[in-house]
């Protein structure tokens, strides 16, 4: 399970980085509130993962100082597109934890998968991307 949790941690770290980049391009109050809430949620997940991995005595690779973004974010449309990609990626990482875990760890992974999928849907609605949902959130 440690390998899957470490991958989830890497996804959460990447999400925190991405929100720092994409937040700059957002000005609307609705967008900003959503981005702030999302970033706070990812930080909370990251902190919980760090302590869980520590309890499991598993070492996680340190977060890189920077990431190669999949595309340059220069406007709101790009910011929303990145937010959607980030949440889809986080959902995929947490879904991979499900079969590797049970009990409280499985429940945490499920909640994190659901939260990321719901945020992706909220970003799609804000960006007027249709459909706003997909049949298999977290399935790569």
């Amino acid at each position: 399970m440690s390998a899957e949790l470490s991958a989830a941690l890497a996804a959460e770290e990447a999400a925190i980085y991405a929100y720092g980049i994409l937040g700059v391009q957002l000005t609307g109050e609705g967008d900003l509130a959503e981005a702030r809430a999302a970033e706070a949620a990812h930080r909370a997940r990251r902190d919980a993962l760090v302590s869980r991995l520590s309890a499991l005595q598993a070492s996680a690779a340190p977060a890189p100082a920077g990431y190669d973004l999949p595309f340059e974010v220069t406007d709101r449309a790009g910011a929303l597109k990145l937010a959607i990609q980030v949440e889809d990626g986080v959902a995929q990482a947490w879904r991979a934890v499900l079969p590797a875990s049970e009990g409280a760890d499985r429940a945490t992974a499920l909640n994190a998968l659901i939260d990321a999928a719901v945020r992706a849907t909220r970003w799609r609605r804000l960006g007027e991307v249709t459909p706003a949902t997909m049949a298999w959130p977290g399935r790569a």
Partner: protein, 162 residues
């Protein structure tokens, strides 16, 4: 599967002993199926069966809503399609065949149940989210991802209907 059948047979034997030792009426026994000639034990329902049932019910509910109010089609049809995809995958994993003429494969019938409002559909999604979440938490590893993605999809549907 072998374990489940075994459990069932034990229960069946216990039931027969119970029946022999008490004065149950013939009708009650018939109702339990104990006097049937058919020796085939009915397997207990699959843990994912309630999730499948809900997927079919939700797809049908969306179909009725669209039929009652065609303007909602663009918004609701993708959600119905998600549920149909879930039903097909669940049926494959459980090992059942979706009944022909089930909501998953047939056009909605006018004059059936009254169409649900968007608010009612959202409530149904939230209830179905609970079922799929519970199934995910207790599922064997091989099914955890399937149930988890279905739970997440239902949560996003509820979000899309806000």
């Amino acid at each position: 599967m072998a374990t489940m059948v075994l459990t069932y047979r034990v229960k069946r034997r216990q039931l027969i002993r119970l029946a022999a030792g008490t004065a149950l009426s013939a009708t009650a026994l018939a109702g339990c199926g104990l006097l049937d000639d058919d020796p085939e034990p009915v397997p207990p329902p699959d843990a994912l069966q309630p999730v499948l049932d809900e997927a079919l019910q939700l797809a049908a509910a969306y179909d009725r809503a669209v039929l009652a109010e065609p303007g909602l089609a663009k918004r609701l049809q993708p959600l119905a399609e998600d549920h149909r995809a879930h039903a097909a995958e669940l049926a494959r994993v459980i090992g059942v065949t979706l009944p022909s003429g089930a909501p998953a494969s047939s056009a909605p019938v006018a004059g059936g149940d009254a169409a649900d409002s968007v608010a009612t559909l959202r409530k149904a999604e939230l209830a179905a989210l609970k079922t799929a979440s519970a199934a995910c938490r207790t599922a064997p590893a091989a099914r955890a991802g399937l149930a988890g993605s279905i739970a997440a999809a239902r949560a996003t549907h509820a979000e899309a209907l806000r």
